[in-house]
Amino acid sequence: MKYLHDFTIVNNERQTDDFVVLTLQYDGALPRMMPGQFAEVKVDHTPTAYLRRPLSIHDVNYEQNQIKLLIQEVGDGTRTLCALPAGSRLNLMYPLGKGYDLPNSDKVLLVGGGCGVAPLLFLGRHLKQHGITPRFLIGARTASALVRLDAYRELGEVLVTTEDGSMGQKGFVIHHPVMRTDSPDFDWIYTCGPDAMMKALAKYARHRDITCQVSLENRMACGFGACLCCVTPTQDGHKCTCVDGPVFDSKYLQW
């Protein structure tokens, strides 16, 4: 079941130059959501952003009926959302798509790049509730582009890479020492981030018989399987990222 609900923004916390976390309050009971699912968020008052914006569920608090969205400003739509002050109303269509599966192992690695870290906080919390301690590997361009590390650290160990070496290991996530071993100490990878990063992880996982679940960020119009705009090539032909994904087993994709 998907819903259209009006939320009230109770907090707008700027993280970096281009990242904001919005905390949204619903005045009823939230429906159950799975990590990796997303919301289509309506953007008002901009003529250039006509369509809703698909955004990962960053965190959920069922006791307080609150959702957090981690938003990166990339265009007029996200800029408009990031500028909304507390008290503003926001319409969400949610929860959409298929999220991450629970692993068949307790040795998992959650790898995020850029804005792709967004769903991994909710996923880490979900895993922890199922008795699995998440370990995060987070990549960014530079130290100042890393967001909410403390929130991730509350759930588990956080490993970091930066392209300029300003924090953690220098390079991309795939170059981190945790990946550079013939017998890695994890057998399930969850990832969300740039395609190049996820493809490198998928290749890594394939060679070691590790499960790798990736979350795609294709351009969408509707978000629920009506328009067929957001397809990705799979073993079974074109599949909609919005309803058949956004989370796919990397082996199912034609990568």
Binding site: M1, K2, Y3, L4, K42, P47, T48, A49, Y50, L51, R52, M93, N218, R219, M220, A221, C222, G223, F224, G225, A226, C227, L228, C229, C230, V231, T232, P233, G237, H238
Partner: protein
């Protein structure tokens, strides 16, 4: 109590609000949001004789107050529709139209003939205006002789309501409208998407895999209104108007311009409840203006 029902030839719609093909899936995608039975009609996804994978990603680019698409008629083929989808949707208590497309006249004919056998499908919308396929589609709808030929051929095998969807990518839309009317169409619907293009200056690449695509959304509404007005004055069969409708007021404007019914497309993506809101809005408009029937709005534009 106002009468919202309208007539499209031999079909009575409970109200003038339909959904546009390609934006409403098979109706069931919207069932969490609205009561499908409340709609005047739905036009389901473009259906071809054989299954189609459609065009490569990216297929969509947002543009100011609208979007370009290049889906390219991805569908399971008419047999897939009949076997898998029709049994799931035939219980909807609304007029279900199947949008039919093809690469050759024979494909149109064979597809239409199969759909003719489906009890709960009172009509088809002949798509001679899809801009996103290499063969067929818009090629049929941009030349009058080929539009007439495909309409005639389908008319011979299809015995129920035959609606023909017109392309705006022509010099004179009334010429094609008159042509398909003469060839036996029961109604015309317009406009399909306008051929457009978007470029990313940073990457110097087109935004769509197909380079060009079909423009829809509020940005096309003035063009669509003009064409609906022109066509409704030049044919006797009913006109179904569409193009950027996203409010009851927009819908009423199309009725005033001469449409007997309207279709809502791209706006469904932004507000999946828009169709029922438009139905309520039309009802309210009729009450406020002391008009008994939605049918009285068709062509009621005052021009003196």
């Amino acid at each position: 109590m106002v009468d919202l029902s309208v007539k499209l030839g031999n079909i009575t719609l409970k109200n003038p609000v339909m959904t546009a093909s390609g934006t409403f899936g098979y109706g069931e995608e919207y069932a969490d949001f609205i009561d499908i039975d409340a709609l005047g009609g739905i036009v389901v996804k473009g259906t071809t004789l054989h299954p189609r994978q459609g065009n490569p990603y990216p297929r969509m680019a947002e543009t100011p107050m609208g979007m370009l698409n290049a889906v390219g008629l991805q569908n399971k083929g008419v047999d897939g529709f009949i076997d898998d989808i029709y049994p799931r949707i035939c219980h909807f208590n609304t007029a279900i139209f199947v949008n039919v497309s093809g690469s050759t006249i024979e494909e149109y004919v064979e597809t239409a003939a199969k759909i003719n056998e489906l009890e709960h499908i009172p009509g088809i919308e002949l798509n001679i205006s899809c801009p996103n396929v290499k063969e067929g589609g818009m090629a049929f709808g941009t030349s009058c002789p080929s539009a007439v030929a495909v309409t005639k051929a389908v008319r011979d095998v299809y015995k129920k309501h035959l609606m023909v969807k017109l392309s705006p990518n022509v010099t004179d839309v009334t010429e094609i409208a008159k042509g398909v009317e003469g060839a036996g169409a029961d109604s015309v619907s317009l406009i399909n998407t306008l051929l457009g293009m978007a470029i990313n200056a940073k990457t110097r690449r087109p935004e769509l895999s197909t380079i060009t695509g079909g423009l829809s959304g509020p940005c096309v509404k003035p063009v669509a209104l003009r064409m609906v007005w022109q066509v409704s004055k030049s044919v006797k069969i009913p006109v179904v108007g569409m193009g950027g409708i996203s409010s009851a007021e927009d819908a009423i404007e199309f009725l005033l311009a001469g449409a007997s019914a309207i279709q809502i497309g791209t706006a469904n993506f932004v507000d999946p409840k828009i169709t029922v809101k438009v139905i309520e809005g039309i009802s309210e408009y009729l009450q406020v203006n002391n008009i008994n029937s939605a049918r009285e709005l068709t062509g009621a534009l005052i021009t003196d």
